[in-house]
Symmetry: C2
Subunit: 218 residues, 2 copies
């Protein structure tokens, strides 16, 4: 059984491992958890002791199979609770993160599987991120960044890379939500902005925005 702190570290190590085939550095973890490197070193010892990660002094952290499965169960809980908050309690997608960070630590397999069924076995959370199933399998969904799209093709918005309140509220103001469809009109070479035809209007999205919107060709 893991403490809340151990679960939070493990989740961060899992996410960092997704885009890193080297060992994860102590500093990288410290930065994500917003803590000091010395605290991370201490926690590394505890997670290693529980066979969730491997670690040699000064060599970075690798997550084990057990660690990956455990992390995916935490992520499963987080994302299912987010769906609950949005679908059932009518939270906005920018309001769910902090509450889900607390709810993800509730320890009851029966609870989370019953919640999954109650929600209709959703495949994605309110930000378009995939929800691991009870076995730890993560459903694949085709998607690409708006920056990678082709002009004069139609796309549907299927996810956000940045899930910050600021970005989500920006999208709300532009009336862009998951499921929104549009045509890509022009990739501007100069500033890498993307102009789309959305709800009968031309809308220009900056590079930063385009780099954080996942879309799918339709």
């Amino acid at each position: 059984m893991l403490t809340h702190a151990e679960e939070n570290y493990l989740k961060v190590i899992y996410h960092l491992s997704q885009t890193e085939d080297q060992g994860i550095s102590t500093n990288a973890i410290a930065q994500k958890i917003d803590t000091k490197a010395s605290s991370v070193t201490d926690m590394i010892k505890k997670l290693k002791e529980k066979d969730l990660i491997t670690h040699e002094k000064y060599q970075g952290v690798f997550i084990t199979q057990l660690g990956m499965y455990t992390a995916k169960m935490i992520i499963r809980k987080h994302r299912l609770w987010e769906v609950f908050l949005v679908d059932k309690l009518h939270f906005n997608w920018d309001e769910v993160h902090d509450v889900a960070e607390e709810l993800e630590h509730i320890k009851s397999e029966k609870l989370i599987n019953a919640l999954d069924a109650f929600l209709g076995f959703p495949k994605e959370d309110p930000h378009g991120d995939p929800i691991p199933n009870a076995k730890g399998e993560i459903p694949y969904r085709e998607k690409e960044l708006l920056t990678e799209t082709e002009e004069n093709n139609n796309y549907m918005c299927v996810g956000v890379k940045d899930t910050s309140v600021a970005f989500l509220q920006y999208l709300d103001r532009q009336k862009i939500a998951l499921g929104s469809t549009f045509m890509v009109l022009k990739h501007e070479n100069f500033d890498h902005s993307v102009t789309i035809l959305f709800q009968e209007n031309e809308l220009t999205l900056s590079k930063v925005v385009a780099q954080n919107l996942f879309v799918k060709k339709i």
Copy 2:
């Protein structure tokens, strides 16, 4: 902001205060929390510092107005989550306590009020205990113990005093649930058992059972 431990102590002190107009003794708290008296003394200092209780050395604990309100908000959360588990996730009434003990510590006023609305502003939890509203008001419901009833009158089961798994499963086996109706046939003087006419059968309930069943005359 309170820690989980502080909330658990406060809840226990609140419950003990309901049936005690003296100060609550250190030992009484220790017994309920299943901890040592010395640990209780330490925690008393913390709760006193936060103005949730008053306490003079060796004199027992009294809960303050702030303490009562705070405790009722925790109980509100506990009972609303129990309703959610039973009504929405189809938990049995004997399976909800431990999970609700965890869920009651989730800190979000918006969450708990949205949950209240989602559940249709229930007045009672799955054991018939009243749910404080957002202001801390506790709805009153007429009820008496089965031991106090009159022969040849009709009653409805409206709550349980003992919420242990053993008692709840016993009631399940007898097919007695909240809302069940029956006629009280006989109070047996010898052993204080109560015989009822329930679903066309005579059923004799022991003194222990009758002392823990809340009913209402219909």
